[in-house]
């Protein structure tokens, strides 16, 4: 068996947290659960630091390999060093530091969002060319209907009647969404149980 100690520890913690979520036992809910979750948050924080180190090491390795486009890694490393040093100097809660970071990050992410909007519009136009089945038509027609309904045109044109029509159409996707979410919930449950049974062990390297 791979990593028996880690497996036993993971299963014990999973069982304690699972029972603590359902059974009103003070030892589980007030002592063990907060302690284990608190420890997990600390471990998660350390994991983020290791992840950042991993990100940097990948880009340093890229810089050492002469290849077109690898020079961008230099900008990433410089930006990281400057941000990290400023964060240490001013502390992350400092308003000036937050303003500078936000004023760089937000425009970059907004431009990616704009790119996404263009990309999605183009792909939607191409959809019927790529998929020639009934569901593609259903998807396109329902997208158009909901664009009109959620756009507020009906309530603006038809007074209360139009508003009622829009409200009726707005409840329709809820049923579908709940169905999909129930499926996702059941999948999540069985995935979690595989960890509890020790069948999946992503920590046993």
């Amino acid at each position: 068996m791979r990593a028996p100690l880690a497996t036993a520890f993971a299963i014990s913690v999973a069982v304690i947290l699972l029972l603590g979520s359902f059974l009103p036992v003070p030892l589980l809910q007030d002592v063990l659960q907060p302690y284990l979750l608190g420890s997990a948050v600390i471990v998660g924080g350390v994991a983020s630091l290791i992840g950042i180190y991993n990100l940097l090491s990948v880009h340093v390795r890229k810089l050492r390999t002469p290849k077109a486009g690898n020079l961008y890694s230099l900008f990433l490393i410089i930006a990281f060093v400057v941000t990290f040093a400023a964060g240490l100097w001013f502390t992350p809660s400092d308003a000036r530091f937050q303003r500078v970071v936000t004023h760089i990050q937000v425009p970059v992410e907004t431009s990616l969002l704009a790119l996404l909007a263009i990309s999605l519009t183009y792909t939607s136009l191409r959809l019927l060319q790529q998929r020639k089945d009934r569901m593609a038509w259903v998807f396109v027609i329902s997208t158009l209907i909901f664009l009109i309904v959620t756009g507020g045109y009906l309530s603006a044109l038809g007074g209360n009647g139009g508003g009622g029509f829009a409200a009726f159409f707005n409840t329709l996707p809820l049923a579908g969404a709940r169905g999909i979410l129930l499926g996702v919930g059941l999948g999540s449950l069985t995935t979690g149980l595989r960890i509890v049974f020790g069948a999946d062990r992503p920590y046993s390297g």
Binding site: A47, I50, L120, G187, R194, D200
Partner: protein, 265 residues
């Protein structure tokens, strides 16, 4: 949550656990007659997306080209972690399949904990396959800690690392459309799944092979990752019926309450 809700939840979890455990047992250990054992052969319904995925992985391994697995940016401490865990199970099977290949799979993730777990999973797969020489820690990498930085960091992997097959499994927002667009430009095969509804809607329009709803959790089973994966799919089907019956009974009780004013629960 009331105590009844909690007990119902626990009953559902126990039922799921028992179903998974019993269904994972070999049929010879169950007291079935020979005829029943013959009839009881768990099978998965054929889904074209998974057939194409297996073919694409096979072709990538044969051609010595790369497979890229994207795990998304789920936080392992939050409820959306199950999608990432499903991605990690997929990774384990993918690594086992590609041990014979010259090019190991590349895994990108949007959180530090997922990056570490992906490295661990790869390491475990290569160790059990006695192929540790192929393992490098940078095969599992963090490409960005926020949703858009993750996408920005992953797009160069799709464009420049000679990837033939892209598998996107995890928690994403609508920004996954950019990854699908990048994969489409490279002409690579893309199978994509997310547990978030906005991402699923985007995937339907942009991905070559989108998976909707719980299909995401079936990927390891379709890649023949083990009997527990198969039994968990069967348990999901069983639980779906249980939930449907509970919901219909609940609706009927509500109707009785509305029509006759009799409160049963």
């Amino acid at each position: 949550m009331t105590i009844i809700d909690k007990l119902l939840g626990l009953a559902l979890v126990l039922l799921a656990g028992a179903a998974m455990f019993i269904l994972a047992l070999p049929s010879s250990s169950l007291r079935f007659s020979k005829k029943a054992r013959k009839r009881y052969k768990p099978t998965l319904r054929p889904l074209p997306a998974f057939q194409k995925l297996r073919r694409a992985i096979g072709l990538a391994i044969e051609d010595g080209q790369g497979v890229h697995l994207s795990l998304g940016n789920a936080n392992i401490l939050q409820a959306n972690a199950a999608s990432a865990l499903s991605g990690l199970s997929t990774l384990e099977r993918l690594a086992q399949l590609s041990i014979v290949s010259d090019k190991p799979p590349i895994v990108t993730s949007g959180s530090g904990s997922l990056a570490i777990l992906s490295q661990d999973t790869l390491q475990a797969a290569y160790r059990s396959g006695s192929a540790m020489a192929q393992y490098r820690p940078d095969l599992g990498r963090l490409t960005g800690p926020t949703p858009f930085s993750y996408v920005a960091g992953t797009m160069p992997v799709i464009h420049r690392e000679k990837v033939y097959t892209n598998i996107l499994v995890g928690n994403y927002g609508p920004e996954i459309g950019l990854l699908c667009e990048a994969a489409d430009r490279e002409g690579t095969f893309t199978l994509a799944a997310s547990d978030a509804l906005p991402a699923q809607a985007v995937l339907y329009a942009t991905a070559q092979e989108p998976l909707i709803g719980e299909e995401m959790f079936a990927i390891p089973a379709y890649l023949k990752a083990g009997k527990f994966h198969l039994s968990s799919i069967q348990a999901q089907d069983l639980l779906r019926w249980v939930l449907m019956i509970i919901m219909v009974i609940g609706a009927l009780l509500k109707l009785v309450q509305t029509l006759f004013g009799i409160s049963i629960l």
